[in-house]
Amino acid sequence: MSEIEIGQREIARKAAQKPAALGTDIDLSRYATEAEKHPYVDDPAKLSPEEKKHMLKAGVVLDDLSRRSGTFIQKDQTPVHFSAQQEGVEVMSISEAFKTHEWLPQYWWNAVKVDADKYTAHLELHETDGYFIRALPGVKTALPVQACLYLGHKNLTQRVHNIVIAEEGSELHIITGCTTHPMSAGLHLGVSEFYIKRGAKISFTMIHNWAPEVEVRPRSGAIVEEDGVFLNNYVSMKPVRTMQMYPTVRCVGAGARVRFSSVLVAPPGSYMDIGSRAILDAERSRAEIISRAITTGGTLIARGDIQGNKPEVKGHLECRGLILGETGVIHAIPELVGRVAGIDLSHEAAVGKIAEEEVEYLMARGLARDQATAMIVRGFLKVDIEGLPPELEAEIKRAIAESEKDLF
């Protein structure tokens, strides 16, 4: 173990009891730390049909790997499959990556702080695997790399620590499906660190498909260098007991760009506190945060934060919330911080129910009330997603359509 690693462990130890800044506090002792190890499978098509079904719902295709440029699957604490289908793309478990790349420690706890809260500390203090995805300089993936995190063991704290690197001028599209058996209970702790080098681009699409008794605390950070692009798409439409996350992207190179698009639904019994933060630390860097939030009875806190720290940065935040049904709360908290002159930051937020005027307008064309409502809600959930391969765009649309039927 290197000195750096020992140092991090020490810092983590001090933060082991540190509550998170946001979200209900979780008693980690309520959940099991370890689960049985799972065997490695060369062909993920051989996973159980039940597991494959849930993974597919989260956008993970296992029967035809040629539709992806790489695949990673972790069940509970064990990576059970990883493979790359394209030259110049590396997909492996973090434990494998540490053996392969001696330089990896410099990316470890660099975009996310080890002592951010007790959850990050917990990951450092316990043996944690996860995925490592990297595109070599100039390599562009035609098809997305897929990663699946599956929580199967009852009442487990699933630990994941991921590193994603897009080297200079490369382009990487990733779809991550996080899912579980619909009846299971558990806690998912996941750290993801993204490094987008000069002129590189990452699109990261995460589809959450949790269950009513699952708690989720992802901790994500990204560092975007000069002219790099990070597109973060997030879809969560299934029930979850509590979920809190606030992914933070730092633009450190001139002209770096980040865009967050989120589609969030809080069904009854769900408590979701979800934000997106962009820190514009370099000239001409840009951020856009767009979210669509619906409650059908749950509580949804939709946060957004753009910080402009250098001249000529630009940021826009748009949060729209829809309350369907009689109960449910949407709390939109858009924040802008400007620290220098010559910046351009703006936000718009709107929360309400479906406009009766719009429903009646469609009804005047012969649509029944529920048809008109469905059409408006579908329209509401349609966020413009740029820069994705058609396959991924279709995947997002499918994930949204799949969950839409539960809304009415």
Binding site: A355, E357, E358, E360, Y361, L362, M363, A364, R365, G366, L367, A368, R369, Q371, A372, M375, I376, R378, G379, F380, L381, K382
Partner: protein, 243 residues
């Protein structure tokens, strides 16, 4: 086609229309004149069946059936269609999706595209409904929806407002098509057109016309005669326009 008897309509607890009577036969198009705020749009909204426009007295008979209490979308399905003066923006819903829904399977994609080309709305079809549409674009989009809906009774709320001269001819031509003006004895579709300026009547022939002031129909007669009279004497003097 449409018979309105002693109709009174309330909006927000206030009576706007008082004892309105109107009769439109099959194949007939009629015009409704009146100053701003006289209740013309209220009458169209009440015929269409918007719940906010509460009918407190009288009856609406459509194709022989009493529809006074019939819900909005059922009236649409029975064959009443309306073009709105200021329709709402529906974000995220493409105009094409609404057109297809309004067509209800009566036209296939090719027929819809053909119609859209003729109405010059092709570039609106993939945009959100009414979002950022100009006055003229709204009129053409409304007309497009009505054409696929194919209603037997067409209610038009100021189809000419905000439309330039070139597009006026197009809207006139397509409105005639909507109202089957090329057919004569076999024409079944009827229309009721609200107009401020009367420009639409240069293109679309209307028989009878009414003048509405303060929620009452104060006179009726030949549309062009009434229009001439309004232009000469103004609305207030129109009581004398009655023939």
């Amino acid at each position: 086609m449409l018979k309105i008897e002693n109709l009174a309509v309330e909006v927000g607890g206030k009576e706007i229309l008082h004892d309105v009577n109107l009769h439109i036969g099959p194949g007939e198009t009629q015009a409704l004149f009146g100053p701003n705020g006289s209740g013309k749009t209220t009458l169209l909204m009440a015929i269409m069946g918007f719940p906010k426009y509460r009918i407190t007295r009288g009856r609406i008979i459509f194709k022989g059936q009493d529809i006074t209490r019939t819900p909005l979308n059922e009236r649409a399905r029975m064959g009443i269609g309306m073009s709105f003066q200021r329709p709402p923006i529906v974000r995220g819903v493409r105009t094409r999706d609404l057109v297809v829904a309004a067509a209800g399977g009566r036209f296939d994609d090719r027929a819809i595209d053909n119609m859209a080309r003729r109405l010059n709305v092709m570039d609106l079809m993939d945009r959100d409904v009414n979002l950022g549409f100009s006055g003229g674009e709204i009129k053409r989009s409304e007309l497009m929806q009505l054409l696929v809906q194919g209603p037997d009774l067409v209610l038009l709320d100021e189809p000419e407002s905000g439309v330039d001269l070139v597009n006026m001819a197009l809207i006139g031509q397509m409105t005639n098509e909507l109202l089957q003006k090329d057919l004569h004895r076999t024409r079944t579709r009827s229309g009721l057109i609200i107009t401020h300026t009367g420009h639409i009547l240069d293109y679309v022939h209307a028989g009878k016309g009414y003048v509405m002031i303060d929620g009452r129909v104060i006179s009726d007669g030949e549309s062009m005669e009434i229009l001439k009279c309004i232009k000469e004497k103004g609305f207030e003097e129109c009581r004398t326009c009655r023939r």
